[in-house]
Symmetry: C2
Subunit: 390 residues, 2 copies
């Protein structure tokens, strides 16, 4: 089976309800699940050095195929020996397929059955991505987990639109998988540019908010034998209860012995609910992007550090938090740095937010291992509120 | 003598020619000299966290009175318990007097005998600094070393202009010192806002490039009994050999048992030549600012990381360097981060440049202690060239 051919394996160590604690073993080390992958869009988590990211306990990061292909180019990365060597990060890396970024380009892209044509956001140059080229690019990057090239269905979508989009994603999944397996059989097809022979590939389930479409997508995608499965097309504007319903409904249709990855989500309470539904892996720009915008995520909920009331506030952002930022700095200083536009403020906020996310994942894993996940979940929701804290 | 009243003491441990290795003891710890103070203009070294700065081995940082008074305001800092507590840095801090920034404002400021009126670069509001208010502001900030309020003579200046400016600096030095001593005698004058009772105050020698004026300034300034002495008004456009001549000529006129501080200088070879002339302490924005602009300073000289030839260069910026950046990252990656505008690139470049500066200081100190400073100096100049490296 593909699982043994790829360098990736996954096992569930403990279950608590639908929640799972597991281990994803990759060519660059183990990721203990449930896990959160900080986003390093262009090969760096914005504002942090890799040692900061390692210090936070991150075991995997995400990098974006679209951005890296446009600059510096996957061929340059391959010449450097792959993304791990190029960026100097020796732990696991997950790359998206580029599909999501391309679809976000709006009228700068056109989709046909073969793939997507678009203009670079950097220089307006004409570019093209297909299931095959997105697979090749990721082979050059040499991530540990590559993603099949999918069409991210926009929201809202009618049933017919969602079905057409889901079917196209399926056809593209077959082509992505065929290309991936062909490269695995004969890496020479890329003339020495396959930089991680143990790379795994995950398929993506689409189908918008329609239960029947999600089920059909899950059935057909899992039949292709990917090493893991992602749920795509969520956190795109749908109400949160709808998202929870789709996650729960889809997760249970995915193979029990493969990683389940919820793409691009979300707020901390989304992660808790999704782990409860059996999700193992997450990525999201929210903790890092919001940090740079001055929004700290704490156990009590979001805290906007720019508020004038914090000008003289000597308390740490989250008094219960053990992160470097909260152990060392006051709200007053962080507010000042934010208002002054100091880079260091963005770094300190990012350290806090990622610590909160990664720590929440660790707490969830521990609760699952101890069989106390339900009480963790209840306590979490009792404390955390999405409404900004005063 | 004032030396014992202030929390600052200084002793020379070893000499090698004019070069000195010493210890400056402050209320927040020891600074081993010769020492370089990274610039944290607004209470943060741009792009670094304090733990990064400590990890680099910095024993003192500089913060700018002008910037901190405009925002967040020294009174707010005093309410937080002083600058150390406000910014979460527990090692020594040196503050400038604000004079240099104010004079840099050009036509946004007017000078009279009492002080300087200017418009804030932030919001255009009318502001005023005098020797007394600059002293009060620094008392509120509670730095370990405060500076007398001086007029930084511009370059070039005629002998008459330079003398007038130097005489004004002297009159302002007397007022700065009087105010400082009055606050030391009775901190209650600032109604609880004096946050570091052990603060020391340094006088500043001016006189442009004129030997006689420098001598007169040194004589009259040292007569005021400051805890240490700075050489100001250099690195303002004069030729480098002129600067070296003025530094050497002035340093020998300063008391042997007090810290000698060369303000706002300079390139690495400037530091070596100034240590050779008997300087103990430096600050300069160059390593941090140039890092953000993509100029790395190495043993061989400056290296502009943005050059296209580095796109595929797997070597570290400086193969002989032991800093985190050079141990972990390639020129190719740093070039890419710079071109992509990633914050992390600015951070990594800053870590390298400050390491190079601080390491150069440590090597100089060691050479002085071993009596091998002259051979260090020769080897340094054989390797280091100001011309950009290819």
């Amino acid at each position: 089976m593909p699982q043994s051919d790829s360098g990736l394996s996954f096992r569930v160590i403990h279950r608590d309800g639908e929640a799972r604690a597991g281990e994803m073993i990759t060519p660059h080390g183990v990721v203990r699940t449930p896990a959160f992958a900080p986003v390093g869009t262009r090969g760096a988590v914005k504002g942090l050095t890799h040692r900061d990211v390692v210090g936070l306990g991150a075991e995997i990061v995400l990098a974006n195929t679209y951005h890296l292909e446009l600059r510096p180019g996957a061929r340059l990365v391959a010449r450097a020996g792959g993304l791990h060597r190029f960026i100097g990060w020796d732990r696991p890396i997950l790359t998206d397929s580029g599909g999501y970024q391309v679809f976000s380009l709006g009228d700068r892209r056109t989709i046909d059955e073969d793939g997507v044509s678009f203009r670079s956001h950097l220089d307006g140059s004409r570019q093209r991505l297909t299931p095959e080229s997105a697979t090749d690019i990721q082979a050059r990057l040499g991530s540990d987990v590559a993603m099949a090239f999918d069409e991210c269905t926009s929201f809202p979508a009618s049933g017919a639109e969602a079905e057409a989009s889901m079917r196209r994603t399926l056809r593209w999944a077959r082509r992505s998988r065929a290309r991936f397996l062909a490269l695995r059989d004969d890496p020479g097809r890329l003339r020495g540019e396959v930089t991680n022979p143990g790379q795994a590939q995950f398929g993506i389930v689409q189908g918008s908010v329609y239960e029947g479409l999600r089920a059909a997508s899950a059935r057909a995608t899992t039949a292709l034998g990917f090493e893991g499965y992602a749920i795509g097309g969520l956190s795109v504007g749908e109400p949160v209860d709808v998202m929870y319903r789709v996650v729960a409904g889809t997760a249970r249709l995915l193979p029990d012995d493969r990683v389940r990855y919820l793409m691009g989500t979300g707020m901390p309470d989304d992660l808790v609910e999704s782990v409860a539904a059996g999700i193992d892996l997450f990525d999201c720009v929210l903790p890092t992007r919001n940090a740079r915008n001055g929004q700290l995520l704490t156990r009590g909920g979001p805290l906007s550090i720019k508020r004038a009331e914090f000008a003289d506030d000597a308390r740490p952002p989250d008094p219960g938090c053990r992160c470097y930022t909260c152990r060392r700095y006051s709200r007053a200083y962080l507010r000042y740095l934010h208002v002054a536009g100091e880079m260091t403020g963005r770094t300190l906020n990012t350290l806090h937010n990622l610590h909160f996310y990664l720590d929440t994942m660790r707490r969830m894993r521990e609760a699952i291992l101890f069989g106390t996940f339900e009480s963790f979940r209840q306590r979490f929701h009792e404390t955390f509120s999405r409404r900004p804290r005063s």
